[in-house]
């Protein structure tokens, strides 16, 4: 029998599809509690955000801790759009366009922020992206946006300052956020977006542009010396990374009907949470990001029954994963155990 050799990329797709089928079967069998079901979409959008961030951290080699800010932009721009057109357009088209809007806005801001920020390196870049992430969240908290017969109105002071007509509706109500967004997101769509994200990122890595991006990561000076336009590729990777975070944000915004730009939703701790998925899944390892996001998002929720010991176990798992992925001894052990399968495959 002829053996089909699967590439690393194909294995990732198969893994995601397998997870999807298993979860669908479990849902159909009625095994999953409504609590767990409610966690599925968030798990997937954090996985998407982690894949996007890995493009920035692992492939481009620039540490960003502002990705929750791009999620925030994606969530709010798309939720505003959906609220504007929810009476005009049917569900499917509306959600598709919401993705276009959310991704476009996140990419635009990624591009604009990338231009000044990517002149910095290392810790400086991390600090500035952190600041931009917080700025985005705080600005959205201060904006009031409404709609009436005369068009869109905005204000930075209060909802009444917009001077809406009698029939007008407030869409974005400052710190109260957006209410009544249609809940268009579901597990199937989220998994589809994850697959598309993986397709884009994995293809990009295995291409001319991907090689250029990774060469900048490995040695900027040498990359320049062989004619690689550093600025162009840095901004390209950062923009795509922000756009993917935006896509995750669209899912976020359409998974709940009431959306606020709180620290718990889009603060720097969420940026760091996504970074934890990336680091523990393996920097530059795209499949690892998906796995780490899945396990680490679900775990604390699954452990809720243990109450007081919950965060203790979570931290032990974090340490165990870190050792498994990065300790030299563990890596040797891994290559010994898993290397056996690889060699068989090659034969």
């Amino acid at each position: 029998m002829k053996k089909i050799k699967l590439s690393k990329e194909h294995k990732t797709y198969i893994m995601v599809i397998a997870i999807y089928i298993i979860v669908e079967i479990l849902m159909a069998a009625g095994v999953l509690s409504s609590h767990i079901k409610g966690l599925l979409v968030p798990m997937v959008y954090y996985a998407i955000a982690a894949v996007g961030l890995n493009l920035c951290v692992g492939i481009l080699g620039e540490l960003s801790i502002g990705h929750a800010g791009f999620m925030c932009i994606g969530a709010f721009s798309s939720a505003i759009f959906s609220n504007l057109v929810k009476d005009i357009l049917p569900g499917g088209i509306r959600f598709l366009l919401a993705f276009v809007v959310g991704i476009a806005f996140a990419a635009l801001f990624g591009f604009l922020i990338g231009i000044p920020v990517l002149r910095l390196n290392g810790d400086y870049l991390a600090i500035v992206t952190l600041a931009f992430g917080e700025i985005i969240k705080n600005v959205i908290n201060a904006v009031y946006l409404g709609f009436d017969g005369r068009g869109l109105h905005a204000s930075f002071t209060s909802a009444s300052a917009m001077g809406l007509d009698a029939g007008g509706t407030t869409i974005l109500n400052g710190p109260m956020g957006i209410n009544g967004t249609p809940r268009d997101a579901n597990f199937t769509i989220a998994m589809l977006v994850l697959l598309i994200t993986l397709f884009i990122v994995q293809n990009l890595i295995k291409s001319r542009d991907g090689r250029a991006i990774m060469s900048i990561r490995d040695n900027r000076i040498a990359a320049e010396s062989i004619g690689i336009d550093i600025t162009r590729f840095k901004i390209l990777a950062f923009t795509i990374s922000a756009a993917i975070a935006g896509a995750a944000g669209v899912l976020f915004g359409h998974n709940i009907s009431s959306l606020q730009a709180t620290s718990g939703n889009f603060g720097y701790n969420i940026s760091i949470l996504i970074l934890v998925y990336v680091v523990l899944g393996g920097i530059g390892n795209i499949r690892g990001s998906v796995i780490a996001a899945g396990i680490l998002y679900m775990l604390p929720e699954m452990l809720r029954g243990l109450n007081a010991y919950r965060m203790l176990i979570y931290s032990i798992v974090l340490i165990a994963m870190m050792l498994f992925n990065w300790a030299p001894g563990a890596r040797k052990w891994r290559s010994r155990v898993f290397g056996r399968f690889v060699r068989k495959e090659a034969a």
Partner: protein
């Protein structure tokens, strides 16, 4: 007309004139050596030629085109490629990708970002071309056996070779080698001399190299410029320059 013409090139760092009034020219196909004691300003000259530093004064012409003060990327596109004194490979990329990335701006090896993301038929066609060309180059440097291992896992001598292969991938008119034999044992140096001669004969490459290894310099360079404290000490045909008492004094002492 000379391929590379450097006229009155100078650069100052604060009060220090690291390179002072340097002029030389290299003919097409020539193997030219730049030597001098430590701190003479040799690598600074390379950094000036490749746009890492902007000269305070002077003009650099490549094939008649003024490239003075241009950006490194544009100078590479104009036709100068280099290697580094302390090896700068793309360590986390496989050997073949180190070369493939050098083909970035080469006609026939390009496709758009959209092709990259969608893996279109054009992507597959051009990628194959890139692979073939990269393997061909690796064969020239007898690195084809190690095409799929990480660049950082190559032995030292081969890392040096890979760096030259990567520079050659950009199809330069002029190749700058910064101490290619540094840290090599005599066997590796001999092999390197063969490689350099091979590049020159096979590709008709013009080469400017910095080197301390006098055996290598006298073995392959046709002309030399000797720098000392940023100034030209002596210039001319290799044999005559190396026998010059002033050069011997600067290098070995009284």
């Amino acid at each position: 007309m000379a391929l590379l013409e450097v006229n009155d090139l100078s650069i100052s760092f604060g009060g220090l004139r690291a390179v002072d009034d340097l002029s030389f020219s290299i003919e097409k196909g020539e193997l030219y050596g730049l030597i001098g004691p430590n701190g003479a300003g040799k690598t600074t000259v390379f950094n000036l030629l490749t746009g890492v530093y902007k000269p305070t004064e002077g003009i650099i012409r490549l094939d008649g085109e003024d490239i003075t003060g241009k950006k490194t990327v544009d100078i590479n596109k104009a036709g100068i490629a280099r290697t580094f004194q302390n090896i700068r490979l793309f360590k986390e990329l496989p050997v073949i990708d180190n070369v493939a990335v050098g083909l970035q701006n080469i006609e026939g090896c390009m496709y758009s970002t959209l092709d990259s993301i969608l893996h279109t038929p054009k992507y597959h066609k051009v990628e194959k071309e890139i692979r073939d060309r990269s393997m061909e180059l690796l064969k020239v440097f007898s690195l084809d056996g190690e095409w799929d291992i990480m660049a950082s896992n190559l032995p030292y001598g081969k890392q040096r070779k890979l760096e030259i292969a990567r520079a050659m991938a950009t199809s330069p008119k002029l190749l700058l080698l910064d101490e290619p034999a540094a840290g090599m044992n005599p066997n590796e140096t001999a092999e390197l001399m063969d490689t350099i001669s091979l590049i020159r004969d096979k590709f008709g490459m013009t080469i400017l190299l910095i080197e301390h290894d006098m055996k290598l310099v006298s073995g392959i360079c046709e002309k030399l410029t000797v720098l000392n404290f940023g100034r030209v000490l002596k210039q001319g045909v290799t044999k005559a320059v190396l026998e010059d008492p002033e050069v011997i004094k600067a290098y070995i002492g009284e």
